[in-house]
Symmetry: C2
Subunit: 243 residues, 2 copies
Amino acid sequence: MRSRSTGTRKPRATVHAGSTRRRHRPGSGYARGEHTRQRLLEAGIELFGELGYERASTRAIARRAGVSLPALQYYFGGKEGLHMACAEYVTEDVRARLGPAAERVRLALDRQGLTRAELFELLRAVVEPFLEGLATERPESWALFFARAQGEHTAAFDAIFQQVSARLLAIVTEIISRLIGRPTGNPEVTIRTVFIIGQLTLVRRARPIILRALGWPDFEGARLQTLKEVLWASITQSLAPAC
Amino acid sequence: MRSRSTGTRKPRATVHAGSTRRRHRPGSGYARGEHTRQRLLEAGIELFGELGYERASTRAIARRAGVSLPALQYYFGGKEGLHMACAEYVTEDVRARLGPAAERVRLALDRQGLTRAELFELLRAVVEPFLEGLATERPESWALFFARAQGEHTAAFDAIFQQVSARLLAIVTEIISRLIGRPTGNPEVTIRTVFIIGQLTLVRRARPIILRALGWPDFEGARLQTLKEVLWASITQSLAPAC
DNA sequence: CGAATTGTCTATCACTTGATAGAAATCTGT
DNA sequence: ACAGATTTCTATCAAGTGATAGACAATTCG
C-alpha cells in the first residue's frame, strides 16, 4: 500500500565502487566543480564534527555548502565517501604540522649514545607540537571532526589516522626505550609510551572536562603555557630513574 | 501528495513528560512486567553499546529483548527514556564498586599530617579498584555502553556520571594537593589530578589500541598485574619530589 | 466470578533519510 | 558557433525511523 513502486529494482549499492568519481582531471579546466567540491568538504567537516556521522544528514550538509543534494553523490559517491574525504583532508593537515618535527627527531635518533638530557630534548621536540596542535585548534570545526571521527569507529578514519599515529608511536617508543633502558619490545616500554601519548590526546578528548575543572575559558597564551609545563614536568618525572 | 493525513496534528512531543511512566508500584504484583522491563534494559545496553544511540533502532532493541516495539514506549516513554534508564543502570553498578573504597579513603583523609607513604597508600586504594573496573569488564556490553555514552554527549549520561566522577575527582585532588604541597585550588593540582584519572580512563577508551600495541588478547591475570604495576610506578614517579 | 488494572501486540502513522533519474544549464576546446 | 563533456537542479524513490491507536490478553483483588 505504501509504495507506489514502478517495478522492482535495487535502490542501494549501485555500480560505482564507492570512490570519489571525479569526472575531470584535477589539473585543468572546469574550475567551478572544484569549488563546490571544496564547499562540500568544509560543510562536511563542520557538520560531521558538530553532530556526528549519523545525525549529520546529507541534506543539511548540502544546504550549508550552498549546493543541492545530488552534488554530494556526484562528487563523493555518497555520504560515506564524503566522510572519508573529510578524514583525509584534516589528516593531511596534521601530517603537515607534525611531519617536519618528527623527521628531524627520527634522524637525530640514528645516532647512538645520546645523553638523557638529549633524549628528553628530542621527546619534547616531538611531543610539544603534538600537544599544541591538540590544545589550540585550527578551525574549531576540525577539532570537533577529529574527536568525533575517533569516537565513532569509522573504518575509513582508523586507517587514515593510523599513518600519523603509528609514526609518532614509533618515535616515542624508541626514546622511552632508551630512557628506561629496556628493549623496544618490552611491555613496560609499550605501556608507558601509549599512556604518555594517550595523556596528550586527553587534552582533546576531555577538553570540556579539564577546562571546567580548571575554570578556564580555553587553552590560550599563559594558560597553554601552564598546561604544557605541568604536563611536561609530570612526564619527565615519571621517566626519571629511581632515586 | 505524499501524506494521506487525516487532518493536521503534531506528531511529536505528545503529552507525557518523558519519564519512565511505570504503571504499577514497584513492590507488589504484576511480576511479568518487571521481567520485560529488565529485558529491554539489557537489550538497550547491548545495542546502544554496539551501535551507538543513533544506529540502535528501537525495533532492533525490542527484537533482541524478545518483546514487541510498543513495550519500549510503554515502559520507558520512548527511546531517550530507555537510554537514560540504561545509563542509570550501569552507573549504579560503578557506584556500588567504587563507593566503599572511596568512603574509606575519604574518612582517612580527615586526619591531618599523613606521611607521604600513607598518602600514596590512600591514592592506590582509590585508584586500583577504578582501574580494575575499567580494565576487566563485567558484561562486555556494559563497557561498550559506557564508552559510547561518554563519547556521544548525552545530557542524561553526563549528569548521571558526574555523580561518580566528581567524588573520585575530589578525593584524588585532595591527595595530590597534599603530596605536591599546594592548595586544592592550584591549577597544577587540578591538571595533575585530571590527567592521572584521565590516564586511567584510557584503559577503557584506547583499549583496542593498547592491546594491539602490546600484542595482548585482554587484560587478565598476569597481564592485568603488569599493567597495574607499570601504571602505578609511572604515577608515583610523576608525583615524586624533585631530586 | 467479574470488574478494574496492567501488560502485550498488530497495524499503521507521519516523517526523515540517502540515493537516483533525467532534464536543464554551464563550460570546454575546436 | 557548435558538439561533447561536465556540472547542477527538481522531483521522486524505497527503506527505515520513532511513535501511537486501539484491540486483545493476562493479572489482581473485591
